[in-house]
């Protein structure tokens, strides 16, 4: 199992001009590591991070879109895999950090912690998929995450992070969305 924050630190050290879409606990970890205008925090409705990312991928074909999803979140929007598999954006990477719990909501288990997300992605015709269980394997995948022609789907097996209230107020503020628009020249 992987320490999510350590994995995100490795990824943060390598990103350049990618738009990174994140949600809930993964988002708070990501923001604590790297605060930049090209961060996009999925808010408003749980589960839609990958849908936001798909729209961004279509809107900004010149940039890589990396979605940092959670397993509980993805389960709320599992059909998104079918949509992504069909649209097949070449600039799209969808990473799902799987700890088997709704960490942001008190650590309750997801309905089936043993669910095979990579299998779901492959069944949805997303052909480039992987699952990693340790930090070295994740590190070895970073080039693939950043540069492989998409859509790419990765299931990252992580430990449960710190439970308890996390503040989303800062990441959800409108100024952050405005900063992203500005960075993109919109």
């Amino acid at each position: 199992m992987i320490d999510r924050k350590k994995a995100l630190e490795l990824l943060a050290a390598r990103i350049t001009d990618e738009i990174v879409v994140s949600t809930y606990s993964t988002a708070t970890d990501w923001l604590s590591i790297i605060d930049r205008p090209l961060n996009y925090f999925s808010s408003g409705a749980m589960g839609l991070a990958s849908s936001h990312g798909l729209g961004l991928a279509l809107a900004r074909p010149e940039r890589r879109i990396i979605v940092l999803d959670g397993d509980g979140s993805l389960l709320m929007n599992l059909p998104t895999l079918v949509t992504i598999g069909r649209v097949a954006p070449r600039n799209f990477t969808h990473l799902v950090f799987c700890n088997g719990t709704y960490e942001a909501n008190g650590g309750h288990p997801i309905p089936n912690p043993d669910v095979d997300f990579e299998g779901h992605a492959r069944a949805a015709q997303i052909k480039k998929t992987f699952t990693v269980n340790d930090l070295d394997a994740f590190k070895d995948r970073i080039d693939y995450i950043l540069h492989e022609e998409g859509p790419v789907f990765g299931s990252i097996k992580v430990e449960q992070g710190i439970l308890g209230p996390r503040s989303y107020k800062d990441m959800y503020k409108g100024e952050r969305r405005a900063a992203l628009r500005s960075a993109l020249g919109v």
Binding site: S43, G44, A45, A49, G55, L56, L58, A59, T83, V87
Partner: protein, 176 residues
């Protein structure tokens, strides 16, 4: 007196609606099929090379995709049935309204009686649509006939000018 109120029913052609969508600069159509708009709108849109149709599995996906598209200034239209609108309510609230995004929703009123106002329909699900939009603060217009269709591009332009969602209810069934 409006046509709906008078009971007179004239045609609503899908081609007229589609021309209005194009006039507003919309090129991405995000849709779950709706029997009410299937023949007159969705089938023609699916084969129209000017549109990029993204078929989604469920309606709330559309809110995320539409939000992302705004980061390229790409105008999209959510084409769904009123039941799908109801299903996606939390995403409409959280993404379109609270983030002040120009999400444009075209909502088919399947089963609405010709010439009857939505709020006066026999169907409960239809009667509640406009009151819900009012509570949400989403401007809306109902398209019954070709004569109403100039309101489509006007609504979309206004949504983008003010960066607010809008709802275009399709009351008449568009003819192919």
């Amino acid at each position: 007196m409006s046509e709906a109120a008078s009971g007179a029913v004239e045609k609503l052609r899908g081609s007229t609606v589609i021309n209005e969508i194009k006039k507003a600069g919309v090129r991405h159509i995000l849709s779950v099929p709706d029997l009410h708009t299937s023949k007159g709108l969705l089938h023609p849109i699916a084969v129209d090379p000017e549109f990029k149709l993204i078929r989604v599995c469920k309606e709330d996906e559309i809110l995320g995709i539409a939000a992302g598209l705004t980061y390229g200034n790409l105008r999209s239209l959510m084409l769904v049935q009123y039941t799908g609108f109801l299903y996606a309510m939390n995403a409409i609230r959280g993404v379109a309204i609270e983030q002040k995004l120009p999400v444009c929703m075209m909502i088919g009123l399947l089963g609405k009686e010709p010439g009857v106002l939505p709020t006066e329909s026999r169907r409960f699900g239809l009667r509640i649509i406009e009151p819900i939009l009012d509570v949400l603060g989403i401007p809306h217009t109902c398209i019954e006939t070709d004569a109403d269709t100039p309101r489509i591009s006007a609504a979309i332009e206004e949504a983008w000018r003010t960066s607010r969602p809008t709802a275009i209810l399709i009351g008449g069934r568009p003819e192919a």
